[in-house]
């Protein structure tokens, strides 16, 4: 699942992974992501930190409060220590920085998905 407020980013990532036979669902905001996760359980969440509405960090807090232990990779464009500090306690797999290198992102996703 890809959560990013930029439509182009969601679209390009979705198309890239779809070409590799990886099924992708997208959400344009933290709120939409929470609604989707009421009914679906993705194997992995790519969550943008800075979004309109609630931030990626707050979205993740709510997810964890609901007891959902979905695997999460945070995606951030800035190295904002204040913003990222709470992530230490939210059990994330990795934090990757933009600009995204799709090949490396693919390796990361495949590696994480294959872990038990």
């Amino acid at each position: 699942m890809i959560v990013d407020d930029e439509a182009d980013v969601r679209e390009y990532l979705k198309r890239y992974f779809k070409r590799r036979k990886i099924e992708v669902i997208t959400a344009e905001s933290g709120e939409e992501a929470l609604r989707i996760m009421d009914t679906q359980q993705p194997d992995l969440l790519l969550l943008d930190v800075r979004m309109g509405g609630i931030t990626g960090v707050d979205t993740l807090k709510k997810i964890r409060e609901r007891g959902n232990q979905v695997r999460v990779i945070m995606v951030t464009g800035v190295a904002d220590e204040e913003l990222l500090r709470p992530l230490k306690n939210l059990d994330i797999l990795a934090c990757i920085h933009k600009p995204l290198i799709l090949e490396e992102l693919e390796k990361e996703v495949l590696q994480r998905c294959s872990q038990p």
């Binding site: 930029e6 182009d8 390009y12 990532l13 070409r19 600009p99």
Partner: protein, 501 residues
């Protein structure tokens, strides 16, 4: 005036003669015209004229002169009713056709054939294989045994064989020696069939059937041949492989089998110029190269081969063709091989189709940048209709005054955007993703395109009458690759193919 007319007529006649000669020497393409609907069984090329090709079928013997236009015609002299031809062999002066109704011989330029051996009894009449020694002694192998006729004698004799219980499957004659292959091995006679010696025994080589359906059974000999220029060199086709000797049967060596299915072996051919070994099996024609058999021609029912010029004549059950054909040889050299695909979209065109369909062109990035630049000059416009609230803060009192409802308009510019637009970061991120996605699509398009092209060239370089399973698989894969390219280009690829045809 008469002088001019005379010169003109003379010139015309000379032109006609020159054209006729050129026409006569032209090599007309070998096709199965005249043989359609018949099942081919044997083939041979005249030893004195490479343009004359004999083709045996289950119905008769046919001939074609490739220096003339036309088609295969029945050879005169064979019985008028259907006569299955088993084999066509060369003698020192004639060509022989071994048939179910006897042995027939004719001139090497195919003028007429005549019966040289026949019997009332079918088991003696049906000639499975024939061979002719250099002195003209003819041998005919039938179900009832081996018959022979020396040139100076008018009558045929039956050879006394120690192995009479076994049916002869193949004969070969060279340098005064006659070889007879039976299922269990090969016999040799150096005294014109008066006495025989077994020189090859499948049991000694512990050969077993490779065919799964006949697992456990002993292998069986099916063919023997050699190189007349080197009498000690022999090749024996066994259902488990091909054996060779270069000391006239003293020691045998099994050739590598990799790539060949010896269980369905039909013919072995040795190229006199380079001793190259060719094998015709059901799956097609193979050539031994090193330790592997290269699959030269793919068919699913190859029957026989014969050497012609620098190539082969190949027959399947329903077709006859040359390998490689003169046209195909040219097609496969240099750029001519790719010229046949000029009507198809080039790789560049296909890539552009994919970029357009995927909406991943550079124009998109430029469009983002252009819009961001324009936006920097555009103010933020706010329009409202509300009460005006005025506050006044005095030294000793504060006053708030609320006015009537009124329209309000404000324009706001972010002048910093003219220097650095905040959207630029987002544009950078999106641009990089777009470029990566585009490269990913182009890599796949390129891979599919050239895999498809290689397959087209492979299919074009082999000739088949009825597609073998391998060829069918390739054709299906070709269709699949075309469909995959269509998926990446939104069917534009196929549309261009169809419109250019």
């Amino acid at each position: 005036m008469f002088k001019t007319l005379f010169v003109a007529v003379l010139f015309f006649l000379l032109s006609v003669i020159v054209c006729a000669r050129a026409f006569a020497q032209a090599n007309h393409a070998l096709t199965n015209e005249g043989l359609k609907g018949q099942e081919l069984t044997a083939v041979a090329v005249s030893a004195i004229n490479e343009n004359i090709v004999f083709a045996g079928t289950k119905e008769g013997l046919y001939v074609r002169d490739l220096s003339l236009p036309g088609y295969f015609r029945p050879v005169p002299g064979l019985p008028p009713e259907k006569t299955a031809v088993r084999q066509i062999v060369h003698g020192p002066r004639q060509v022989y056709a071994a048939t179910e109704k006897g042995l027939f011989a004719g001139s090497a330029d195919s003028r007429s054939f005549g019966n040289v051996w026949t019997r009332a009894q079918e088991s003696e009449r049906d000639v499975k294989s024939a061979a002719v020694l250099e002195d003209g002694t003819i041998f005919a192998a039938t179900k009832s045994g081996l018959f022979y006729k020396p040139p100076q004698e008018g009558a045929w004799s039956k050879a006394a064989l120690d192995f009479e219980a076994e049916e002869i499957v193949s004969l070969y004659a060279a340098a005064g020696i006659i070889y007879a292959a039976v299922s269990s091995g090969v016999y040799r006679s150096i005294d014109s069939a008066k006495s025989w010696e077994k020189i090859f025994n499948v049991y000694e080589h512990n050969e077993v059937q490779e065919d799964e359906d006949r697992e456990g059974e002993s292998a069986a000999v099916s063919y023997i041949t050699g190189l007349p220029q080197e009498p000690s060199l022999l090749y024996v086709g066994v259902s488990s492989g091909i054996f060779t000797t270069n000391d006239n049967g003293g020691a045998w060596e099994k050739l590598p089998s990799g790539g060949l299915e010896p269980a369905n072996l039909k013919t072995i051919l040795i190229n006199p110029s380079d001793k190259g070994v060719f094998a015709a099996a059901k799956a097609g024609v193979f050539k031994l190269e090193g330790k592997e058999w290269k699959h030269l021609v793919m068919t699913h029912d190859c029957q026989a081969i014969a050497p012609r010029k620098n190539g082969l004549i190949v027959i399947t059950a329903n077709d006859i063709f040359e390998y490689p054909s003169a046209a195909k040889q040219q097609d496969l050299t240099g750029d001519d091989s790719l010229a046949r695909f000029n009507h198809e979209p080039s790789i560049e065109e296909t890539q552009q189709m994919a970029i357009a369909y995927g909406n991943v062109s550079d124009r998109k990035i430029k469009d983002w940048q252009r819009r961001a630049s324009v936006r920097a000059f555009m103010p933020q416009l706010t329009l409202d209709y509300d009460k005006t609230v005025t506050t006044a803060l005095g030294a000793s009192y504060d006053r708030v005054q609320v006015g009537p409802r009124d329209w309000g308009l404000s324009l706001k510019w972010e002048l910093a955007d003219l220097i650095f637009n905040g959207d630029q970061t987002s544009i950078d991120t999106r641009s990089r993703l777009l470029v990566q996605l585009r490269n990913d699509i182009l890599a796949e398009v390129t891979r599919l395109y050239f895999e498809r092209r290689k397959l087209q060239l492979e299919l074009a370089s082999s000739k088949t009458a009825v597609p073998a399973r391998e060829e069918m698989d390739k054709k299906l894969r070709l269709m699949e690759l075309t469909a995959l390219l269509d998926r990446l280009t939104g069917t534009a690829f196929s549309k261009v193919l169809k419109s250019n045809k």
